[in-house]
């Protein structure tokens, strides 16, 4: 049994390709660490219990809820947020498709939606609309009614698959 409960934890991780160190409250969620300590405000806290997906991040290659993971658990992890994906340019086509199709209105869900959609697109191929809808069912959007988002993801899947086979 550990002797004391640490209320501050030292962590070292990479965020958007850059090394980051921090001394974080033990109870701090990863999304709050990114937003408050690093100023990466792209991921949003909304439901705060893993239902809505607005805080979706990529951690060690997996789409993860930033409100369900503690910052302390991210020690040694490789974390990507929408800001990093933007700088890296890897989601440019998806972001452009979102704008072209108006697959966002208030934009609060959008960063999480982009990360979640990339998670599906990374599986390759062209998912059906039903598969896209299923995959994004953990990401709530209260504005669009989802159809435009499904359109945008479908367009990008087609375009990427076309490039892959060319």
């Amino acid at each position: 049994m550990t002797a004391v409960f640490l209320d501050k934890v030292d962590i070292a991780l990479t965020v958007n390709g850059e090394p980051v160190e921090g001394r974080v409250p033990a109870g701090q969620h990863l999304v709050d660490f990114l937003r408050q300590a690093l100023g990466l405000t792209g991921a949003h806290a909304s439901c705060e219990h893993g239902v809505c997906g607005a805080c979706t991040l990529r951690v060690d290659g997996q789409a993860v809820r930033g409100c369900l993971m503690l910052a302390a658990q991210a020690d040694g992890a490789e974390v990507w947020t929408v800001e990093g994906l933007t700088e890296q340019g890897s989601s440019r086509d998806l972001q452009q498709a979102f704008v072209a199709r108006n697959a966002l209105q208030c934009g609060f869900c959008t960063p999480g939606m982009i990360v979640a959609a990339e998670d599906l697109l990374a599986q390759g191929g062209v998912p059906t609309r039903v598969e896209i809808r299923e995959h994004l069912s953990g990401n709530y959007c209260r504005c669009t009614g989802y159809e435009a988002i499904v359109d945008a993801v479908e367009d990008v899947a087609r375009a990427r698959a076309g490039k892959g086979t060319a």
Binding site: C47, C106, C109
Partner: protein
């Protein structure tokens, strides 16, 4: 000069075209700036202790342990804040008889709903404030809770506010013609009891406010996720005793509003009051449980209604008895009587009939306050009206489309005044229905339904016509005494580089206001939309305006922008005519160039004109007006509201074993007048439909009989998810309003208005062979199975 809207190839033809939203790119890159993204020097955080009981007297408050908690700076009770913040009363003079008690920023003496803020804890971090809030001990003496709407006025029900005499907040009866006589002699009379569940908006960005008070400047600045910055400026100034001119409300990116963020919330006013006391920035971001317990709720109605029809399907009379419970306070300053009032105004809306009686009874209860939420009253009125019309059609063996065609106002009948005394300038019910029938291929759909039925699949087609109130005049709030602006303004200026800046009093909540304004201004001045920068949401900067509510942004704010832009065009051309030794009437501005109007030949780029005006004004004739800035305001004058119309259709399948409803497809034809940006309008309608579908199938706030909220999380209050929603086909008929040159009416609420009725009618169409019918929303599997008689306990 007027705009030739009929010619899509006219110069600068941006109105009517899909142009990109200037603010979308930052949002997809995660570079939006919502209130919680803002951090200010010396900023502190406030967390609220909220009432755990629906109704209780506050006996004592012990804040010592909380004050001693590390990081805590101050703790405020209701009595503390009452010294710096006056209470408010949510009544309006034109809603005769509406009453409500004074409401404080923090409860004083008595808490009246679970979630009402009672104590505020301020700390250096949100985490510390929240933790310390749990250490505040409030001693409550429980009082009986009133939770049932229908018995709220019974003699043995306790009166929540004894000073008011009873639990009746508002009652309005409207009668036209002789309903009883029509009912007595009609071929058929059909009655039904409808219920719409209590909803809330579930904005993904919770309510958020960050307020700073700078005593050295005597200035309050509030960064606020709001739909109505100028209204909030007035409210904060009034109740915190600050000159209105010394309150600045800034509304940056807002993460969803839908009406939720147009009201005055006690915790937000408390945050401002605390900033005033502490003279430093104070941030309040509601957490999700707080959102469910303290955001406004809506649509909690129970209705008994009757329709009388003749043998030929003509509607003879409609009789509606509507009841709604609004919580313990009428919400300030728009009041909680509007929704019931809208039900009275809107029932029977599409139809030409003579005898109408509707009464709404609005009662107090110990639940979260209700107030205006997207499509206020419309989904309820549409469900009542369209439900009754379908039932009447079934009763006389008539097709549901045919009965509507026999009763809808003829497209050439306008202007008309409805039995509810609503004035319609120009609607297109028949053209819209014709278009819908084409889009859905009605006969083929009926054939598919029949074919499916043979295979044991129970599909239904539901039709819902509706009207929608948009472009409100002061008749909505102003005449009742509220300082809520129905007019709106826009200032448009040209800078030296030939680019244009437009400052507007309407706000961006994600619906695309700034894109709409950019294309209107671009066309009005004669530049490309990318040369127009839009600034909204800052009371110190923009012309005074109303913001976003009642689908007014395009119709009111858009027209102000068009007129300001055209005035600027005139100013530019006056300077250009002088520089070019020409006549302003012979010049035009196209794509940022002054051109010869007849030939289109380029004469001078706007940046050259800007260079001369701003840096070499000495070369222009003395006395030549050279103000490259113009402001115009717009208000509707001829009609209290610009009504729109539309019709929706739902096709769905009901699993009669499980009660599950699967949406197959949804259609909407909408007439919002001039369509400024087709993509944005379609997406507003799609988003609105899905909000309506949520109400039809999933959304329901549950309270127990003691007034405890039972489902205060996103896992328990179900909103539509991607997997359950259908694809939606949107069509348009355009009947521009003659009140403005732009001709635009509102589009943001139409989807929500009609979708629940269409779904209800489709389910009942599917269930009709079983003799079953549902009228209580949401249509959960349980309610469907009960209707089918498969559950009876």
């Amino acid at each position: 000069m007027t705009i030739a809207f009929g010619n899509p190839d006219r110069p600068n033809s941006y109105i009517g075209k899909t142009v990109p939203r200037p603010n979308a790119e930052k949002l997809v890159q995660g570079r939006g700036r919502y209130v919680d993204d803002i951090t200010l020097p010396r900023m502190v955080h406030v967390a609220f202790v909220r009432a755990p009981l629906a109704h209780a007297r506050i006996i004592g408050i012990d804040t010592e342990a909380a004050k001693a908690f590390k990081g805590v700076l101050r703790v405020f009770t209701g009595a503390d804040l009452a010294e710096v913040c006056t209470p408010w009363v949510g009544v309006l003079a034109h809603l005769k008889g509406l009453k409500s008690p004074p409401q404080h920023a923090l409860a004083v003496e008595r808490a009246c709903w679970v979630g009402e803020p009672v104590v505020a804890v301020v700390a250096t971090t949100r985490a510390a404030a929240e933790e310390a809030a749990t250490l505040v001990e409030v001693d409550y003496d429980p009082l009986p809770a009133v939770t049932d709407t229908m018995t709220a006025l019974d003699a043995d029900t306790p009166v929540i506010h004894p000073d008011l005499g009873d639990n009746l907040a508002f009652r309005r009866l409207h009668e036209e013609g002789d309903v009883d006589a029509a009912m007595a002699t009609a071929h058929k009379v059909v009655s039904a009891r409808f219920r719409t569940a209590r909803h809330t908006g579930v904005t993904l960005e919770p309510r958020s406010i960050l307020v700073d008070w700078n005593p050295a400047e005597g200035q309050m600045t509030a960064w606020h996720a709001t739909q109505a910055p100028h209204m909030m400026q007035t409210v904060l100034a009034t109740h915190l005793d600050i000159p209105e001119s010394r309150v600045r409300v800034i509304c940056g990116d807002v993460g969803g509003s839908y009406g939720i963020k147009v009201h005055v919330y006690p915790d937000e006013v408390a945050t401002a009051a605390i900033a005033r006391v502490m003279a430093r920035p104070v941030k309040f971001i509601a957490d999700r449980l707080e959102s469910f317990t303290s955001d406004i709720h809506a649509r909690d109605h129970e209705i008994e209604a009757k329709i009388a029809v003749a043998e030929d399907g003509k509607i003879l009379a409609i009789d509606v008895d509507d009841w709604t419970g609004i919580g313990p306070y009428s919400v300030y300053p728009r009041t909680s009587a509007i929704e019931g009032n809208q039900v009275v105004n809107l029932c029977g809306g599409p139809y030409d009939f003579a005898n109408y009686r509707a009464q709404t009874t609005v009662v107090f209860q110990n639940k979260a306050p209700t107030c205006q939420y997207r499509a206020v009253g419309h989904p309820i009125a549409a469900a009542i009206t369209e439900g009754l019309v379908d039932m009447a059609a079934a009763a006389i063996g008539m097709d549901p489309v045919e009965i509507r065609r026999r009763n809808m106002y003829a497209d050439d009948a306008y202007p008309v005044t409805s039995p509810a005394k609503m004035r319609f300038e120009g609607l297109s019910h028949h053209a819209s229905m014709d278009k819908l029938m084409e889009m859905i291929d009605y006969d083929a759909l009926r054939a598919d339904q029949e074919e499916a039925r043979k295979q044991g699949k129970h599909r239904g087609i539901g039709i819902a016509s509706f009207i929608e109130l948009t472009n409100p005049s002061p008749f909505m709030y102003g005449i009742g005494g509220a300082r809520i602006s129905a007019q709106d303004g826009c200032t448009v200026r040209m800078d030296p580089d030939g680019s244009v800046v437009a400052l507007s009093g309407v706000t961006e909540q994600g619906q695309g206001t700034e894109a709409m304004l950019s294309q209107v201004v671009a066309e009005g001045v004669g530049v490309t939309p990318d040369k127009v920068r839009i600034i909204t949401g800052d009371t110190q900067v923009t012309p005074y305006g109303g913001g976003t509510w009642a689908s007014r942004g395009a119709g009111i704010g858009g027209e102000a922008a068009l007129q300001a832009a055209r005035a600027l065009r005139g100013s530019i051309l006056e300077v250009a005519a002088s520089m070019l030794q020409s006549d302003a009437a012979k010049l035009d501005i196209r794509a940022g160039q002054v051109v010869d109007a007849d030939s289109g030949e380029a004469r001078m780029p706007l940046e050259e004109l800007g260079r001369i005006v701003y840096f070499r004004g000495d070369t222009l004739p003395k006395g030549l007006p050279r103000e490259l800035v113009q402001t115009r305001h717009f208000i509707t004058m001829d009609y209290p509201f610009a009504f729109t119309n539309g019709v929706q259709a739902s096709y769905l399948e009901v699993d009669t074993d499980t009660g599950v409803v699967t949406l197959l497809k949804h259609w909407c034809v909408e007439d919002c007048g001039r369509v400024i940006n087709p993509q944005l309008v379609d997406e507003q309608i799609r988003g609105g439909i899905v909000q309506g579908l949520g109400g039809a199938l999933y959304e329901e706030i549950h309270y127990d009989e003691d007034g405890q909220l039972l489902n205060g999380s996103m896992a328990d209050y179900l909103v539509p998810m991607a997997g359950e929603m259908p694809d939606m086909q949107i069509g348009h008929v355009e009947t521009p309003t003659g009140e403005s040159e732009l001709g635009a009416k509102g589009a943001g609420e139409a989807g929500t208005a009609g979708a629940p009725a269409a779904v209800m009618n489709a389910i009942n169409d599917a269930l009709r062979p079983f003799g079953a019918q549902v009228t209580e929303m949401p249509f959960t599997p349980e309610r469907v199975l009960r209707a089918l008689g498969k559950i009876d306990d």
